[in-house]
Amino acid sequence: MGYIANRLIRYAVCLICIITLNFALPRAMPGDPVWNIIGEDVYVSEEALQEIRRELGLDRSLFEQFQIYISSLLHFDLGYSYILKSSVFDLIISRMGWTLLFVGIAIIIGAIIGFLVGAYTGWRSETRMGRLISVLSLVISCTPAYFLGLLFLLVFSFRLGLFPFKGLYTEPTLASIAHHLFLPILVMSLFAASRNILIMRGSTILEKASLYALYARAKGCTDRGVLYVHVLKNASLPLIAQVALDFGFVFSGALVVEIVFTLNGMGTLIYNAVLGRDYPILQGSLLLIAITVIIANLAADLISAVIDPRIREVGR
């Protein structure tokens, strides 16, 4: 598999870039690196500061510091947040579940709607309905996610009082969680769906003009038959790859939406870290997000190579 090996090298380079950047950024910034590493608004005693310096090896050479950094990463040690008084790894683990839940649901809903509606608008791209849907999808794609979230919050929560303003649940029951998560999932699904519709529509339009579709028609296939049996299979390839990629952004994609709806997930963790300049959390999150993105990219490559033999050929 020359194709996959080729991709693997690129992802390895990408990961090394991120790790190096993570290592270099706090040390390259002006000022004492120890403050850039633990965060600026932290109160620690002078002895503790000396202790941290020694642990990170800040008195030693850069190369030795890098060795210490890599070895701690290999032990799943992403640092310690001096503001939240907890290890970054534990913080991220405790927060990622909720984000995974509601973004995951939104990605799946968006993929299903995008596939069905996109195929329809692509197949019937000349009809008024087809045009209307694609313009609407374009409008949603051009809106900042948090703005749409604010609008929904204003209309459905403030004005109509249908949904709660914030939080994940009032009591830990399924109904309460679903009630709280409905609006954020709706907003995220709308975004995923409108982008997927545009992708699916584009590829369906391309495929329906190709020769094999014409041939299928010539041998007597019905209109629906051409779509379902022949065109859909090829037209869905870009969408499948895109949905796999979406899972890479499962932790960072909902950042602003989480903030608007005050959900206690990864997004609010990152937001509070930005406000408090809690650098260990930011760096740990970036690394985790980069790893998920790379895994998702790899999955997308593998899926594409399995379902589309042409890609395997090109890679050689």
Partner: protein, 267 residues
Amino acid sequence: MIQVNRYALFLMIVFIILAAVPGLLAPYGLKERSLPYQDPSLEHLLGTNDIGQDILSELIYSTRISLLVGFAAGTLATVIGLIVGLVAGYYKGGVSEVLMGMTDVVLTIPKLPLIIIVAAFLRPSIWILILILGLLGWESIARVVRSKVLQIRESGFVMGAQCMGFSHPWIMASEIVPNIMHVVAPKYMLATAAAMLSEASLSFLGLGDPNNVSWGMMISFAFSRGGFIRDMWWWFLPPGICITLCILAIAAIAFSLGEDSREVWQD
């Protein structure tokens, strides 16, 4: 689609005029203050914000910052993407491999988290925003340009120029670039739209430049300084609508520019 484009062009011209001469159009200056948190009235059509600024005037002045960040970052991304794509497409072999490998790496790196972390370390300013957004937004332009250059470099007029002994940079600049402009132009508009959208998100996260308020910053302020709790929709709705309309106009222009070149949309 012609009709949509006419609207888009009209909108774009309006926004550019607002950005060019805000002082002529805004009813109040940025430094003028009156009572904070006023409701819309004849004196203040969109009310006033938490420090007593006229929101309509702030909205008009913010146009310049939003457009500046978008177009400057888009230009930077396009220039880098054009050069990388040209060189990678023109010289095959090792150079091309390295450049395209680099492009793939940039493509894989998660943009928003990286921008957040870099912007958090550096003090926010619009120039740093432009630099970061530009440096991380060029990869799809580079890929499109390269695939186009790969076709053109085999054509007769390029080979003719090579036979006549023109230098490679000269051939690239005056034979190839004019022939790929029709794919670069829509890509430039799309890169600008993407930069504006990223800027809006970053500003909302509080990573914008507090001295140069953009539309995204206005929404961020309305959200964090009580505009939302007080139900002052006239504070955060107009900048949001402006962002959406402006990005939509730019995207619509990109669509009409690139309607007949399939390469633009394949990435």
